[in-house]
Symmetry: C2
Subunit: 256 residues, 2 copies
């Protein structure tokens, strides 16, 4: 890959073979060279997890003039860290996660490996954005997302983002186009009925994580959940600084 074009580092949490990743590569190449370091298998729900207790390896999967693809046995965040320090020959101009097969709006940002990539990029001081489509199907149709991905990625690449801020972009499942694009805040939401329980053939129970999501403020039109439910692309700016500044007052009596 030559050095004249912007360098975009791309990863995901569905694994290097996922359709969403491979379609995103083609959406991003008009903007620059794309270096991919992605997990060698699905790592959905990896959040900002890192691999503390096992050694990691990576291998090249494919290469062409404007795209190099590597796979790694670590988490999405490991992929970013490893690519930045051991593979990239220069500092990327942008870090991108996705396109995720599934919704990363509202509280899902906390569990999302896609947003782990994006937060890691942001912590490294690089403009970072994650894209997710609200469709878990491995063969989901990403074609409607392409012009929006291009527009958002071009803006992030050219204008940058404020220090400590990254973007979480979610696309509703749609067949005939989107209603538009909204800048949103995270909805307050919660998961319940999270376990599918079954009998183990040798006794006892086993449990699969599943669950029912509830938007706790369905009438708030400024949230990502509302935007998605009404056909809009939801762009939520996300902060690395998780300090709850409004809570300082009530805690002062603990100081000593």
């Amino acid at each position: 890959m030559n050095d004249n074009k912007p360098l975009i580092l791309l990863s995901n949490d569905d694994g290097v073979r996922a359709k969403g990743l491979n379609e995103l590569i083609e959406m991003l190449t008009p903007l620059g060279n794309v270096l991919v370091m992605a997990p060698d298998r699905a790592r959905s729900g990896a959040a900002c997890g890192i691999t503390a207790n096992e050694p990691l390896r990576y291998r090249m999967v494919s290469a062409r003039s404007d795209v190099e693809v590597y796979a790694c046995n670590g988490t999405p965040v490991d992929c970013v860290k490893l690519a930045l320090e051991k593979v990239a020959t220069r500092r990327p101009d942008m870090i991108v996660g996705g396109i995720n097969h599934g919704n990363n709006a509202s509280v899902n940002v906390h569990y999302s490996g896609t947003m782990g990539i994006v937060l890691e990029g942001c912590m490294k001081g690089i403009s970072s954005v994650g894209f997710s489509l609200c469709d878990f199907d491995p063969d989901a149709d990403f074609s409607l997302t392409a012009p929006y991905v291009y527009k958002v990625a071009r803006k992030v690449l050219s204008a940058g983002l404020p220090s400590g801020v990254c973007l979480n972009v979610n696309f509703p499942k749609a067949t005939a186009g989107y209603a538009g694009l909204k800048i949103c805040r995270m909805a307050r939401g919660s998961w319940s009925s999270e376990w599918y329980e079954a009998d183990h053939p040798r006794g006892g129970k086993y449990f699969w994580l599943t669950g029912k999501y509830t938007n706790l403020e369905p009438d708030s039109e400024d949230t990502d959940d509302w935007a998605l439910a009404n056909g809009f692309v939801a762009v939520t700016p996300v902060t690395v600084d998780m300090t709850a500044y409004n809570a300082f007052g009530g805690l002062k009596d603990l100081e000593m």
Copy 2:
């Protein structure tokens, strides 16, 4: 366990056998009954990760009148979700993570399995607090932390916390007592030189995650890093809502 005392749900990311967890059980029993669901092995760096692709199981490890201990093959967040829905006979009054062997201040909150527990508890609407000691030693001395743990946990249990806010409590490594306790914000910090590289005996390289942490604002006296560096217990209120509200203005031109 009888129903007359508050119920405290406890987990950690160093695993059910870790010293920090077992010392924290004894610090919390004066405040209520303690239900422990902890990972069956070390899961440091698990963040808010969940197990999407494997079934989970749990087993009882020990029981006495005021403490029940279970171990689970999932992540710290899985432990909280499983305990709440499948083990606890009533809704806990407080959820606690720790005591972690290692520093969870500054950006480490994003990687921390301890804080994954706490954020999960907070997302379930339960007052939640995480405790971490800046000492990775498996045999670290937690004795100095006890009166501070008691004081913070008692306050959280009696007064609660604002909706969507949880606490990240970090203790400096000390031998002669702490300088006091400070309510702090997250320092801006970054990790670099993150990989230890070695030759694989059958060719190629392998990599262990390690790294050097830098406080990017060492002179800011209102941060958790500053408090710890100056011998104070650092209490950082953490918000579930990661929206970067100050970034809305610069993004409005994307709307359509």
